[in-house]
Symmetry: C2
Subunit: 159 residues, 2 copies
C-alpha cells in the first residue's frame, strides 16, 4: 500500500460522480499550495501562516480592525485572535487601541509591524507566483474566471 | 466597515500581483464549498466532516487501514485519528483489528458503518453536484483540467 499523502482524490471510489472528483481536486490543490506556503514561511521567518494572515488583514486597514472583525475575516475564534494578538503585541508588531466608544478594542500594525510584514509579503508573493507558475498567464486567467463564477454563486447562496 | 466574512480576497492590497489574487480566489472558493458541506453534514446527520472523511477513506479499503496511514491521508495527528476512531467504534461503525504482525492496529468499516456511510455519501454527492452546478459541464471539465495540471506540478515538487 503506497501512502499518497495530501491527495484527497485517494478518497474516490469507483463510480463517483464527476463533480466529486472535481471537488476533491479543488481541495487537494488548495491544500498543497497552503502546505507549501506554510512550510516556507516557517522555514524563513518566525511568522507562521496564521500570524501572516492576521498581519495582512491589518496591513490593508491603516485605522485598524476590531477583534470581532478580525475573527470573522480570519475565520478563527475570538480566543485564537486574542492569543495571536498577544504574541504579536509583545514583539512590537501590533498595538491595541480603544475604539471611539471605549468598549471595543482595535488592533493595528505598528511601524515595525508594517516593515516586517512588507518583507515577508514580498517573499510570500514570490512563492505564490512560482507555485502557480505551472499554468501559463492565459491559463491562470481562465482558472481565475471559472473560480470567480463559482465563488459568486457560492457567496450568493450564503447571502 | 462591511464584514466580508469568508472571502480571503479581502486580504488583497492595491497592486498585488495577479497570482496572489488567483491564489486567494482558490482558497476562498474551496473554503466556501467546505463550509457549506460541513454545515449540511452536521444539520442532517451526526457525522461531522472529519468523521465523514475517515469513513470515506475506509470505504475504499475493504481490508482496512493502519492508523498511521489514516493519519497521513487525513492530514491530522495520530491523536485525532484515535479520538475519531474511538467514537466511531463505540457507535459500531468501525472496528479495530490487529495487523498480521500484531504490532499495528488496522481500522475497518463494520457492515453498519458501510451502510451508514453509503446513505450519507449519497446526500453529500448531491450537495457537491448542486454546489458546483454554477458551472456548466464543459466549464467543470475545463476547471478540472487546469487544476489537474497545477496539482501535478505541486505534487512533483514534493516528490
Amino acid at each position: 500500500m503506497i501512502t499518497d499523502v495530501l491527495d484527497f482524490e485517494t478518497r474516490l471510489a469507483h463510480g463517483d460522480h464527476q463533480a466529486i472528483k472535481l471537488w476533491l481536486r479543488l481541495l487537494t490543490t488548495t491544500t498543497l499550495v497552503e502546505s507549501e506556503l506554510r512550510t516556507r514561511l516557517s522555514a524563513t521567518s518566525d511568522i507562521s501562516l496564521p500570524r501572516f494572515d492576521l498581519l495582512s488583514q491589518l496591513e490593508r486597514e491603516p485605522a485598524g480592525l476590531r477583534m470581532s472583525e478580525l475573527s470573522a475575516r480570519l475565520m478563527v475564534t475570538r480566543g485564537n485572535v486574542t492569543g495571536l494578538a498577544d504574541q504579536l503585541e509583545s514583539e512590537g508588531l501590533v498595538e491595541r487601541t480603544s475604539g471611539p466608544d471605549r468598549r471595543s478594542v482595535t488592533l493595528k500594525l505598528t511601524p515595525l509591524g508594517h516593515e516586517r510584514f512588507g518583507e515577508i509579503a514580498e517573499q510570500h508573493e514570490g512563492w505564490v507566483i512560482m507555485l502557480l507558475g505551472a499554468l501559463s498567464q492565459p491559463e491562470q486567467e481562465q482558472l481565475s474566471a471559472l473560480l470567480g463564477k463559482l465563488k459568486a454563486h457560492l457567496k450568493a447562496r450564503r447571502a
